[in-house]
């Protein structure tokens, strides 16, 4: 398909601007003027609409295809959430920061406050900041909170390390590293969780935090989690919970109850807000009482009369992690999702997410190697090692699925499983949809034996076949010249 710039015709416009009702200002001094207008597209409104409508049709999406991308919780996004979020479109965030401005923002500040309370209850935390703009941004915020906590206790110089299991999301070590920590990685044991003995050996008083995902990226709940927390705390380290997999445990177990001190929640995963082709997400961070003094500013607080106020100049706070109050539009959707589903609805979400993952696991077990064969939570991780005997890789199976109309599961993650295929169906898929997917996965396994070349050749039904990624990386052609 042509680029929008290749459809451009000089002089064409996509929108009529309002006519000016004021006198023209004098021209900018030459030294401040740009010499030539930026080379943006020049297209009519219809050209524009056709271009982007046709582009959209080159995507798989939750609304068009089963999308069991493990670790990403690609559940259905209720349409009413879009309508709810649009209600807040005209509200300027700066209004709340004007003197006396909070009076005019009680609705939005109240919603953020309530959302914080609901998330605190779901996760077992004492207070939540809604400022972080994505999961990884929440991780960084959380680690900075931990660092401020240690500094306040006179331990800034001593606490140099953050411990992560080797099964963790890549964002965990990356977030801790950009926040100034060195990383200690602990291997996974044969039972699918962080090796307890190696963990004990790694723990010293120099560890600032232990970052865990629970259930982990293998979809397994760590039965030793309380023991791990206790060991971490005995060394003065805090426990960080990566909430990426929270969809598995709502109402069943609260991270705060098992010893976690800081948590981020991915609203775009567990709480039903759309993923937007790569964001916007939202990553609120919950903390235990001891960390509240360090929460980013402005912090929304409630006075004795139930009025919402802003704390803006707490000297102990880590400062600001984003310009305003976070991705408000995303939070409006998550809030609507939580109040709509309610207590019973959220419990049902976790139950059926876990039911669906176990169902797929059992059905596919005879065809794909299951490296950790036990009850999983919301996702299951297979290996394509049996298929590899026929020269077929996980990526080949992924491309075969595309031809059959399925977005592939996450492949090659977690890195500790060779040829990993990580399947997360979520609770919103019907049994019928899963049975159809299972049939195609079985077909892929059989084709791997009978006709491996067919898998190497996939996909064949898409507008393009497999792309030359080496060429892209070598040439670095990242913008259209001209």
């Amino acid at each position: 398909m042509q680029l929008i710039y290749e459809k451009s015709v000089a002089g064409r416009r996509g929108i009529k601007l309002p006519a000016s009702d004021v006198p023209a200002a004098s021209a900018l001094p030459a030294a401040l003027l740009r010499t030539e207008s930026a080379g943006l597209a020049e297209v009519s409104e219809l050209d524009l609409v056709r271009h982007f409508t046709n582009l959209s049709r080159r995507n798989f999406s939750v609304d068009t295809n089963f999308y069991p991308l493990g670790s990403c919780t690609m559940k259905y996004n209720a349409k009413v959430l879009e309508n709810a979020s649009a209600l807040f479109a005209p509200l300027h965030p700066m209004t709340a920061l004007l003197p006396g401005g909070v009076e005019f923002c009680q609705g939005t500040l109240g919603m953020l406050y309530d959302l914080g309370q609901l998330l605190a209850d779901i996760t077992g935390m004492d207070e939540v900041t809604t400022q972080p703009l994505a999961g990884a941004h929440g991780e960084m915020t959380g680690i900075l909170l931990i660092s401020a906590y240690h500094a306040a206790n006179g331990n800034k110089a001593k606490k140099k390390y953050v411990v992560v299991p080797d099964s963790s999301h890549g964002t965990n070590p990356a977030s801790a590293s950009i926040a100034g920590y060195e990383i200690i990685t602990v291997p996974t044991a044969s039972y699918g969780d962080m090796d307890l003995e190696l963990f004990k050996a790694a723990m010293t008083d120099e560890v600032a935090a232990v970052m865990m995902t629970c259930p982990n990226t293998l979809g397994l709940f760590n039965p030793h989690i309380k023991e791990i927390s206790d060991i971490a705390h005995s060394h003065g380290a805090l426990m960080y919970y990566d909430g990426a997999n929270l969809n598995a445990i709502m109402g069943k177990v609260k991270p705060g109850d098992v010893g976690f001190d800081v948590i981020h929640v991915n609203l775009h995963k567990t709480f039903g807000t759309p993923h937007g082709g790569g964001g916007p997400g939202s990553g609120p961070v919950g903390v235990k009482k001891a960390l509240i003094p360090f929460l980013p500013q402005p912090r929304i607080v409630m006075d004795n009369d139930g009025k919402l106020l802003l704390e803006t100049a707490n000297p102990k706070a880590i400062g600001r992690t984003a310009n305003f109050f976070g991705n408000f539009g995303v939070m409006a959707k998550a809030y609507a999702y939580i109040i709509m589903l309610g207590r019973e609805g959220l419990i049902q979400v976790s139950e059926q997410a876990v039911l669906n993952a176990n169902y797929i696991k059992e059905k596919l077990k005879p065809y794909y190697e299951l490296p950790y064969d036990m009850t999983c939570m919301h996702e299951c991780v297979f290996s394509a090692s049996k298929q590899l005997e026929h020269g077929v890789h996980a990526i080949d199976i992924a491309k075969f699925l595309i031809d059959k109309g399925y977005h592939p599961p996450t492949v090659y993650f977690p890195m500790i499983v060779k040829e990993a295929i990580m399947i997360e169906p979520t609770e919103t898929e019907s049994k019928g949809a899963m049975d159809a997917f299972i049939d195609v996965m079985i077909e892929a396994a059989k084709t791997a034996e009978s006709n491996p070349q067919a898998l190497h050749d996939a996909p064949r039904t898409m507008p393009i076949s497999r792309l030359d990624e080496t060429k892209a990386a070598r040439e670095q052609n990242v913008c259209c010249i001209g």
Partner: protein, 448 residues
């Protein structure tokens, strides 16, 4: 019990699935969680219907004053959004997809991001762009961290005229690293160049400026770029994209990295987000860029296509050695930015910028006629300017809020000694009638 239409199984289907798994009940699937760790309370309210949920959200929205006449900016701006932006970005094929890890079934998102990167390069006059960052403040911080990686140095110099919010975000990102952040206090709403020259030594990784700055002033940083390069440092400019319809681009000024908030490009105010951050740089810096980057390539048949590229920089491959921790960015907001820019187009963006400046200059002239009100700076401005009032700006702003006017951002809380000053923003959406009303109301407020 199935009271949610989002969890579709019938009781019979659940039984069937349980027997395949070989357990008696759904509860058995949670057996791996030790019983002593199970949640003792779960106090959420009961759920409600879609109709009731939307009603509750309407109630919340009505508790805000939605009809404020905005003369405030401070990083977020009240601009027109062409109807096509909502409709096209509202295609579920865009908004219910995720990061395009599988390029064959994600060419829609990938090509759109390539076109977005192209728009950002052309707008900023730089060579390479990524596929978006979170927002304006975090993009300043990401650019600063990029300069630390590139130069191996340990100091960031920041013009005090940069948004106080962005400066706070920058300091928060860096506080636990061994990095000095040196702020240069503003001089009459402009960069204090003498003081900057005094601190520009070989420990400086980058100088961060903003154009137009928080006071609204526009400056030519061309000479500064040479000076900064002379010290072996990088010049980072945070820019307001609408102003680039008119104002000399970061590339033309010789800047190395340009960043900013993309909210003004087709994203609603939405109480502060979501918007997107952008970052563009000179080509040689690409390997140190944070976040996703889309590149052009060909498929097995030589057909053009797009993929995520240079992924070896990223956290899902490099883990703690990645150039940043970013995973999700603000893809859909960047798409809105692209649709906005493609709708207004090449000359349309210049017209839009001119319209903003015309309205602001008109308002500036009218407001300056009020007795005791003066325009603070003599510098050239775009669509924001700073007024000095005969009394505390905070008092005046509070008074006008009650009349439905957000008159400006008082500077006292951000700059000591500026208690009587406020920054006024006038976008193309403000009519002459609204501006005249504002002038009249301000005059009355100053008399009281």
């Amino acid at each position: 019990m199935n009271d949610s239409h989002y969890c579709p199984h019938t009781p019979e289907e659940i039984q069937e699935m349980l027997s395949v798994i070989g357990v008696a009940s759904v509860e058995d699937l949670f057996a791996p969680i030790p019983s002593e760790l199970r949640a003792k309370t779960f106090n959420l309210p009961s759920g409600m219907s879609e109709f009731e949920t939307f009603g509750r959200m309407q109630e919340i929205a009505s508790e805000n004053s939605g009809n404020m006449l905005n003369f405030i900016g401070g990083g977020f701006y009240d601009h027109i959004i062409p109807a096509v932006v909502d409709h096209l970005s509202g295609r579920a094929e865009f908004y219910t997809a995720y990061t395009p890890y599988q390029p064959e079934c994600s060419q829609g998102t990938l090509q759109a991001l390539f076109e977005y990167q192209t728009a950002i390069c052309r707008l900023t006059g730089l060579d390479v762009s990524n596929a978006s960052l979170y927002d304006g403040g975090t993009s300043c911080a990401e650019a600063a961290m990029m300069s630390l990686r590139i130069t191996g140095r340990t100091k960031i110099v920041v013009d005090g005229c940069v948004s106080p919010f962005s400066r706070q975000v920058l300091k928060t990102y860096l506080f636990n690293l061994n990095v000095d952040v040196v702020e240069i206090p503003p001089l009459d709403g402009l960069l204090n160049r003498a003081e900057l020259a005094a601190v520009l030594d070989d420990s400086v990784a980058a100088v961060l400026v903003q154009n137009p700055n928080f006071f609204g002033s526009i400056e030519d940083f061309t000479a500064l770029a040479d000076q900064v390069h002379g010290a072996g440092a990088l010049l980072i400019g945070s820019v307001y994209p609408i102003s680039l319809g008119l104002v000399k681009s970061p590339g033309e000024m010789g800047m190395d990295i340009a960043v900013g908030d993309g909210q003004s490009l087709g994203n609603p105010l939405s109480f502060g987000g979501p918007s997107f951050g952008f970052i563009a740089a000179k080509k040689k810096l690409i390997r140190n860029m944070p976040g996703r980057i889309v590149g052009e390539t060909v498929d097995r048949n030589g057909k053009r296509g797009y993929v995520l590229t240079l992924q070896a920089r990223e956290q899902h491959i490099k883990r703690h050695k990645a150039t940043s921790n970013i995973c999700s960015n603000q893809g859909l907001c960047a798409l809105r930015g692209l649709i906005f820019l493609s709708s207004v187009g090449k000359e349309g963006l210049a017209d839009l910028a001119r319209l903003n400046r015309d309205k602001a200059e008109y308002a500036k002239g009218q407001l300056a006629k009020i007795s005791g009100v003066t325009v603070l700076q003599s510098a050239v401005t775009f669509n924001e300017f700073t007024l000095s009032l005969p009394k505390q700006a905070a008092t005046v702003v509070t008074a006008l809020l009650a009349h439905g006017i957000a008159a400006g951002v008082p500077l006292g809380q951000y700059y000591e000694g500026s208690e009587n000053c406020m920054v006024v923003t006038v976008t193309e959406k403000r009519t002459r009638k609204e501006i005249d009303l504002f002038v009249k109301e301000l005059e009355v407020a100053l008399c009281n």
